[in-house]
């Protein structure tokens, strides 16, 4: 969706269901997919998607709501909702199981890694530090654009570019290390 149109729709959406409906129609399948990749459960994904759009509606109706990238903001809300869900879910997990529980993005990372052809790259990706993995998954699996990633990660475009660059460099080094280990 073009940024100008999106901004106009967000402004109109405060008092116009038609505008909000257009935003919903555009983003709902994407946000649902974003959430589903992290929870891998249809019912949970539906609940969290509902929660995300309820929050979106509440915020959009506020007169002081300002956001340059509504889509990015929406992904950020979805990301927070997923984190909340996982944390809430953990409260009911025994201590013994706690260490084995996956982080919210791990399922998405696994799916991305499974699609890689090279074993070395797959292992290198999975061994990366969490901050690097998060950036790579958002960019290459969730296919978010830069403004959306900035909103999700809460950083500027410049910082985003640096983070992505560092993540790729770290991955390259990890692949080289894996290759050396194999050799």
């Amino acid at each position: 969706m073009a940024a100008d149109r999106e901004r106009a729709l967000v402004v109109r959406a405060r008092e116009d269901g038609v505008a909000f409906a257009e935003l919903y129609d555009f983003y709902m399948p994407r946000v649902y997919g974003f959430i589903y990749r992290r929870v891998q459960d249809r019912c949970v994904a539906e609940d969290l998607t509902s929660m995300t759009f309820q929050r979106a509606l509440e915020n959009v109706r506020r007169s002081d709501f300002r956001n340059e990238s509504f889509g990015g903001w929406l992904y950020r809300v979805a990301s927070n909702v997923v984190v909340d869900h996982v944390r809430r879910d953990r409260r009911f997990v025994s201590i013994g199981e706690f260490e084995d529980r996956e982080e919210p993005g791990d399922m998405a990372l696994d799916a991305l890694a499974a699609a890689l052809d090279r074993d070395q790259l797959r292992r290198a990706l999975q061994d990366l530090p969490r901050n690097h993995r998060e950036v790579l998954v958002l960019r290459f699996y969730d296919d978010l654009d830069v403004p959306e990633m900035c909103a999700v990660l809460g950083c500027t475009r410049e910082a985003m570019a640096v983070r992505l660059h560092r993540a790729l460099r770290a991955l390259r080094l990890a692949v080289a290390k894996e290759s050396a280990d194999v050799a």
Binding site: A21, Y24, G33, T49, A115, R118, D142, A161, H165
Partner: protein, 608 residues
């Protein structure tokens, strides 16, 4: 920038491209699961919109139109896939693409005498108050409720009170939605009537799947700059969006789209326009209005797949073919059909022809849409195949492991230059020079129709119809790539007493071989493709036997009694431009048949 920096940027660029490709494959593989249920989407939409008013339509509706100027969205049932914006006066769809003087297919919107647009809606307040024996009554809550809200006039109830003498007339004109059950009718009869109605409705709902033909599952698996036209409304086509019978998909000149129709799919080139006329599981019918479309057809036994180009119908029963509709200078149209895998039948007014695999048929249509003569059937030449669009499709099909037929001559699993690119895509050859710049992550070599619709692809027992074990190509249709087709390998799977399954396949003997990849599914997923399901590699790399012993093998645990399906791929040693040593693209050189075996319980006797 030093040469080492440049080399690093190139490596990162290549790494980004590899990740982007993997991400695309992963999204495609999970597309079915990541699509929200339509019922959920509708319910959530209605719940959200119930809280929002609808602003006055900023079009030509006059302010004095009463209830139509404002209201609540929740009052209007709006399907989720139907855009809410009022469209243009009419949607001009075909004038540019098709010059034929046929039935007018434009979608009109009701226009009032005053020249304003009037949406068609059912207003219960305008219903005849005397019908169905209902007794309408004017109530106070009605005055303060929906009607006053709808008109946006808070003074309305007060006015009605002052005009109490006219209450009866007002009641007749604007009845309440609340109505009383006539006292002469016994409640038990109403209950019985209600129950009967429920039973009838339930039986209709349940029986609809029996009496109505099943619809093929249709969805957009990829969309770039494409538009969905449904019921005269236009909306951007989004990947994952479900498609219905009657939908029309129009692709911009710079866009592309891939539609999954049942078990087949349709790849639409830029500038193409297709309408889905029938999606019955046994009969899929499309109207190709304009442009070029690649059809990969899989229909059940007894079914068929037809594509209309004006008055000419192209019928297939399980094939891959390409149809290219081009306007001619005389106001007519020229349609070129290429039977790339299996044949086609062409019928139309006074024409009938069979187009065998490897031949093309050219039909010239006059301005009235009727064929100007018999189709010109001729063999597909190498020049025809050396086409960017066909090469890209061949590469994608090869990557999916589909039978290629004539495309095997040009297929390369590595996708070549895309026929149409994203207008905003940046070039991979210009990496950002500074660390703060994006290392061109968006510049993936995005093909026109990436391997998008794996769920829709059913593997046939014969993966390559034209096994051409000639790794050294004789022709190079693509200027930058060497063409090759996967060689067929013969695979057998034998269950063992210890519960494992032993795979044995014919060795790939061509050049550039690097390693074998083994794919396994448990039978629940009927598709097999590279990147799908648990995989394993042989050790040593050139071993042509493999024992799947469960978890230790890397393919996951084997469950006794389950039937597993295997496929083996031979991969090339191609590198990413020799920039990153040992960085394999994984071009497929050979592909085996699917071999099935049922895992035995440890200690049992294997069946032959």
């Amino acid at each position: 920038m030093s040469p080492s920096d440049l080399s690093e940027m190139e490596q990162l660029d290549a790494l980004a491209a590899e990740l982007a490709e993997a991400g695309h494959l992963a999204r495609v593989a999970a597309a079915h699961h990541e699509r929200p249920e339509p019922a959920f989407a509708v319910r959530l939409r209605a719940e959200l919109l119930r809280e929002l008013p609808v602003a006055p339509v900023a079009l030509d509706i006059a302010p004095g139109d009463g209830p139509k100027e404002a209201g609540f969205v929740a009052d209007m049932p709006l399907p989720p896939d139907r855009p809410l914006d009022l469209p243009d006066r009419f949607v001009e769809r075909r004038r540019v693409n098709r010059p034929f003087a046929g039935p007018d297919r434009r979608a009109w919107i009701v226009e009032a005498d005053s020249g304003t647009l009037e949406p068609i809606s059912f207003d219960p307040d305008e219903a005849d108050p005397a019908r169905a024996g209902k007794r309408w009554a004017l109530t106070q809550d009605h005055q303060a409720g929906r009607r006053s809200t709808a008109t946006g006039s808070p003074e309305a109830p007060a006015q009605l009170d002052q005009e109490g003498g006219e209450a009866g007339r007002v009641a007749a004109l604007s009845p309440s939605v609340r109505w009383h059950i006539p006292t002469r009718v016994l409640p038990s009869r109403w209950i019985a009537t209600g129950l009967a109605a429920c039973i009838v409705i339930a039986s209709l709902v349940i029986g609809s799947g029996v009496f109505l033909p099943a619809q093929a599952v249709a969805a957009a698996s990829e969309s770039v700059s494409s538009t969905l036209i449904r019921d005269g409304f236009q909306t951007p086509l989004i990947a994952g969006m479900e498609l219905r019978q009657g939908d029309e998909i129009k692709v911009d000149a710079s866009g592309r789209a891939t539609l999954a129709l049942g078990a087949g799919y349709v790849r639409m080139d830029g500038g193409s326009d297709v309408q889905l006329k029938s999606l019955d599981s046994g009969h899929v019918a499309l109207d190709q209005i304009a442009g070029r479309v690649y059809h990969r057809v899989t229909v059940p036994a007894g079914g068929d797949y037809t594509v209309e180009t004006a008055t000419v119908i192209w019928r297939a029963t399980g094939t891959a073919f390409d149809l290219d509709c081009r306007l001619t200078s005389g106001g007519g149209e020229q349609v070129i059909g290429l039977a790339l895998y299996d044949g086609l039948n062409v019928t139309g007014p006074q024409i009938q022809a069979t187009v065998a695999e490897g031949t093309s048929a050219t039909v010239v249509l006059a301005a009235d849409g009727r064929p100007a003569g018999a189709p010109a059937v001729e063999p597909i030449t190498a020049q025809m195949l050396a086409d960017e669009w066909l090469i890209a499709n061949a590469g994608l099909d090869a990557r999916l492991g589909l039978p290629l037929g004539r495309l095997s001559a040009i297929a390369s699993p590595e996708v070549t230059a895309p026929p149409t690119e994203e207008p905003t895509a940046t070039s991979t050859t210009t990496p950002a020079p500074t660390p703060t710049s994006m290392p061109a992550p968006t510049a993936t070599p995005s093909p026109t129709a990436a391997p998008t619709e794996p769920p829709a692809v059913i593997w046939t027992p014969e993966p390559t119809r034209a096994p051409t074990p000639t790794p050294t190509p004789t022709r190079t249709p693509a200027p930058t790539r060497t063409s090759s087709s996967p060689v067929q390998l013969t695979l057998t799977a034998t269950p063992q007493e210890d519960g494992s399954i032993v795979l044995d396949w014919s060795k790939y003997r061509g050049p550039h071989f690097q390693y074998y990849g083994i794919v396994r599914t448990d039978g629940s997923e009927p598709t097999l493709k590279p990147g799908d399901g648990p995989r394993a590699n042989t050790s040593p790399a050139d071993a042509h036997e493999y024992r799947d012993a469960g978890l230790d093998s890397g393919l996951g645990a084997l469950i006794p009694g389950h039937t597993y399906r295997y496929r083996v791929y031979a991969y090339t040693e191609d590198t990413l431009g020799s920039v990153v040593p040992n960085c394999y693209i994984g071009t497929i050189l050979g592909v085996s048949n699917i071999a099935s075996a049922t895992a035995l319980s440890p200690g049992s006797t294997p069946r032959s």
